[in-house]
Symmetry: C2
Amino acid sequence: MSLIDNGPAAATAADPYDPVAFRQGLVEHGFILPTGVRGADGRSAKFEDLLQRFDKLVLREAVDDGAEEMHFPPIVARTLIERMGYLHNFPQLIGSTHSFFGKDMAALELAALADKGERWEHLLEPTETMLLPAACYPVYPLFSGLLPEGGRLITVCNWCYRHEPSDEPTRLQAFRQREYIRIGAPDAVEAWRDTWLQRGLALLRRLGLPADSDVASDPFFGRSGRMMAASQRDQRLKFEIVVPVISAEKPTAICSFNWHQDHFTAAFGIRRHDGEMAHTACLGFGLERVTLALIKTHGFDLAAWPAEVRTQLWG
Amino acid sequence: MSLIDNGPAAATAADPYDPVAFRQGLVEHGFILPTGVRGADGRSAKFEDLLQRFDKLVLREAVDDGAEEMHFPPIVARTLIERMGYLHNFPQLIGSTHSFFGKDMAALELAALADKGERWEHLLEPTETMLLPAACYPVYPLFSGLLPEGGRLITVCNWCYRHEPSDEPTRLQAFRQREYIRIGAPDAVEAWRDTWLQRGLALLRRLGLPADSDVASDPFFGRSGRMMAASQRDQRLKFEIVVPVISAEKPTAICSFNWHQDHFTAAFGIRRHDGEMAHTACLGFGLERVTLALIKTHGFDLAAWPAEVRTQLWG
């Protein structure tokens, strides 16, 4: 298609950031395998390889920090989501896992309803799990009690779920975050966050991405949520690194830095070695979004990417 | 603990396959990070490294087959699960994703209920997705229509969900399957399945696992399910490779081979290049289960594993 073969980005004369054309290009160039679920498409080998290569770059960047690596499944305890305050702040994004606990007669009813194309989900009950909304969540409860001197540094790369179906190719319901989580003294945690903000920006710019950072806020739900977002901005608790992917005016967040202060340490009783209050901060690269930003910036033909970018990813 | 330091397996005099002792050993030796959710614990770097090394061995074994690699998220279209017949066969295992679609007042009610420790899930509605129960499911709908001559061979490694919470360490709610999926002429598909059964057995035995294969059946639900399981056995449609992990008498399935005949090709209208009916078969290694079988067989101290096993995994 001329739209796509015309240049590195899926550009039209009208809007070089047209999300529909970008998505179409991702499909036609074999990066995305459409499943019919908005925000939950398949990834081709080519897409996944790129994503994994970027993840390795991040790990290499941080190797001297000696983070402890952990891995968690896409489901977590329902009680964890409740304790994190997530139901208050982001009820619109939750994924609650429900299953069937009935016997033969109810199972027949369920199957018969499904066969008729009628709804059958009222026959389900909630299970003990929910979908993981942020890669770092399972980490905090592991550290209830006293920390070692110097605190902890953890890294995870987990599948996250957020219920925000969209045709916009960077807005995913299921995606991976490479996160680092720092738990320790408030000043150490804040300094770590500041260091990583510069480090993340430098890493992404070396890959040729027109990345900028800015203070940001979470998509808190509803009317009271707008006040929470404003307060979060005022206190400069959240920063994002953004790159234009589907809009020049509203660039896409591909990395975020969150200073939770004592929000999670209070919830899970995490204290410093001397019993003093601990803080936490985390930073997360949205791995699919970084991959999409790279493709948007450098084009669908990987062989034609700038040599200095190729060397870092494939060198 | 003497129980655990006593030998390669978490053995007691009474029962060398005691699942409680094995799980305790996995935790104490830093393989498993307990989350409080049965069947959804965290994996340490050490566990994950072992799992990934085994997965690479499988990929290497199959490299000359030229399978196309695809990657899918842990959620899939609800309509896919409906069309696969999964609600009829395995309603007890499903994971249905529900979320909150309400406005401010309902959100306040939800949060208030959660704060009081009361149930709030009746305020949710089903979303368009469910959790993926088997790694191969998202593959079939991609091939509606005519296949190329010779058919297709695909490989995936996806997170799967099954609602069967258990303290038994090999019974997971969330786990990964490395699957190969063959779509083509009935005789080619059956021959491919037979070849892989021998290949899988040889691969696992080379790793020192006391692996055996046997005809098997799926855990079909309810009374009518027992007839389906018997028919599946009679037709020799399912084989499993099993290894003793938590019981000598009931060894654990770590790899399964499924010949679906025209079940999925009929559901998704997949035909051969000449318009004739196509068959499908798949095989899947349960990556966590293989990892657990290796640890059970060779012990908690990886450095003390037999040299010929270490060479294959770390060589």
